[in-house]
Amino acid sequence: MNLHEYQARDILRRHGIPVPPGEVATTADEARAIATRLGAGPVVVKAQVHAGGRGKAGGVKLAANPAEAAAHAAKILGMTIKGLPVRRVLVTPAADIASESYVGVIVDRTSQRPVLIVSAAGGIDIEEVAAKTPEKIHRLVVDPRYGLLAHQALGLALQLYRDIAQARAAADIMQRLYAAFYAVGASLAEINPLVTTREGAVAALDAKIVVDDNELDRHPEIAALRDASAEAPSEVAAREAGLTFIKLDGAVGCCVNGAGLAMATMDLVKYYGGEPANFLDIGGSSNPQKVVTALQIITADPSVRAILFNIFGGITRCDDVANGIVQATRQFPLKVPLVIRLTGTNEELAVQILTQAGFPALTDMDEAVKQAVAKAKAA
């Protein structure tokens, strides 16, 4: 789950990391009031959306005074950035910046441990820095049993700052960031940029935290930060029903059990000349109601011209899926053709249920995909 910048800043602040002041506004008047409270000097108005490249899209603006802050907020609050509507802006004092660095924590799949990544070339696109000048990126694999040790943090901080006071401040921030990473159950926590001001202070100007969805049950206070308005409505509905759904642009709606088979099914749709309309994994142990919800979500997409079920029963019982299909089509008759492939656990029972309800059922994956692609094209 992605957190907004303002939410990530709050978490860092609670962990004792220096973060410049700032508040969130949902209207232009609120933005003006915040800018006034911040001393009526220059402020930055920043769109709060789950998308990178906010600055390039015009979602980050410098304002000289509260009136200008209100004007910028009015414009940004109506914007859509990468398909996501902007509903909140962060208003924060314009900092007088001397340097910009990058500090991030992530779990590395190869070493299977958390890794601190730092670079003195922060602020801009850090991926580009990594690709073009990898020598400017420094990393440290951390032993999770002991955490980020003080001398390790200082060693990294000295890669960023020559001034020992600044290095000590940055090392302290790194240890606190590492602690926050574990405390909230993050899969990514980054400060970009970590700045030094003209006065020499070190502070986190912008922050990004991604929380592992599997941690949300044990962190209700973090789960409560979810901003469903910042996600596609179909993906929210799917998540609430325990399904994994990603909308794509094609015409063949796919409903599959298991992520690997779902991806392989999408690939096969493409192989036979079609385009998948979505990724949808109904998961294991699926009850008929899940199937009903899945069909509702797929049919809500007007570009879907045919629907393909591909079920390999293991934990998932084919008869459960068959019952779900029959129930769903009784509740709301389908306007597009349906191709069903089921094999595995309780396959015979499923074929019987479907045949009685007037649906032909296939057992071969390639044949089913070919038919679904042909029907989508004919529709």
Partner: protein, 289 residues
């Protein structure tokens, strides 16, 4: 022979009285696996289905039954704790089926296992099966046939699809291992490839990967350097949308975007026959056997 499990496997089921645990325990017993014990705290002293003794702790189960392999079906919130417990009881092979374990839990579990020399398969995996000999996990026994092809996969149902293709077209399997789809897993492709290379009853290997991470690229290097047996590979997610990834640091750390195209190219460079679709598996294997 087979890899990781055989007729000597003495299994303890952690979470034996739960919904999934009880269902799959019956399936495993039906397949011929020696299920010697179950563990559910608070239910020690009971008999599962009148035959399998249930204990409060894994340590007690090992002491009383000489269990040497554990399979875990407990909920995600307590699954890391169940793995710690199995390792502490001296179990050398732990198979964790549970899906949804936080990655940060696994950063603590894996060094603990390493220090005790225990092997973990999974988490978030279907387990493994040596057709006709033993099954630990949830892979449906009826789709497998005994034979000489090793299968290793990050996926669940996609593995079943490919095993189904093999079995219905006359190619049986020595062992099928589902290593799990999570970012941090106990047993990776290389561990399995190296076991299959050493196994005299395996003639060829099918490797099923997917997008994300760089494990498949490392596995390709291993195949090129250390394997003499033919390997056929598949990567799921050729049409997966880009952009569903973690911020900036993910790409920095791996030095790769983990796309299907990249992985398929690495396979091809290493001499692995690359399937375009699951149905290619049998023709490609038959050309090489």
């Amino acid at each position: 022979m087979s890899v990781f499990i055989d007729q000597q496997t003495r299994l303890v089921v952690q979470g034996i009285t739960g919904r999934d645990g009880s269902f799959h325990t019956r399936q495993m017993i039906g397949y011929g696996t020696k299920v010697v014990a179950g563990v559910t705290p608070g239910k020690g002293g009971q008999l599962f289905d009148g035959v399998v003794p249930v204990f409060d702790t894994v340590a007690a189960a090992v002491r009383e039954t000489e269990a040497n392999t554990s399979v875990i079906y407990v909920p995600a919130a307590v699954a890391a704790s169940a793995i710690f417990e199995a390792a502490d009881a001296g179990i050398p092979l732990i198979v964790c089926i549970t899906e949804g374990i936080p990655v940060l839990d696994m950063t603590r579990v894996l060094p603990y296992l390493h220090e005790r020399g225990a092997r973990l398969i999974g988490p978030n995996c279907p387990g493994l099966i040596s057709p006709g000999r033993s099954k630990v996990g949830i892979i449906p026994g009826n789709i497998c046939r005994p034979g000489r092809v090793g299968v290793v996969s990050r996926s669940g149902t996609l593995t079943y699809e490919i095993v189904h293709q093999l079995s219905t077209q006359g190619l049986g399997q020595s062992t099928c291992v589902g290593i799990g789809g999570d970012p941090l897993i106990g047993t990776n492709f290389i561990h399995c490839l190296s076991a299959f290379q050493a196994d005299p009853d395996t003639d060829a290997v099918v490797m099923i990967g997917e997008i994300g991470g760089i494990d498949e690229q490392h596995a390709a290097d291993f195949v090129q350097q250390a394997m003499t047996k033919p390997v056929v590979g598949f990567i799921a997610g050729q049409t997966a949308p880009p952009g569903r990834r973690m911020g900036h640091a993910g790409a920095i750390i791996s030095g790769s975007s983990g796309t299907a195209a990249e992985k398929m190219a690495a396979f091809a460079r290493a001499g692995i026959a690359v399937m375009k679709r699951p149905a290619d598996v049998v023709p490609l294997l038959k050309e090489r056997l």
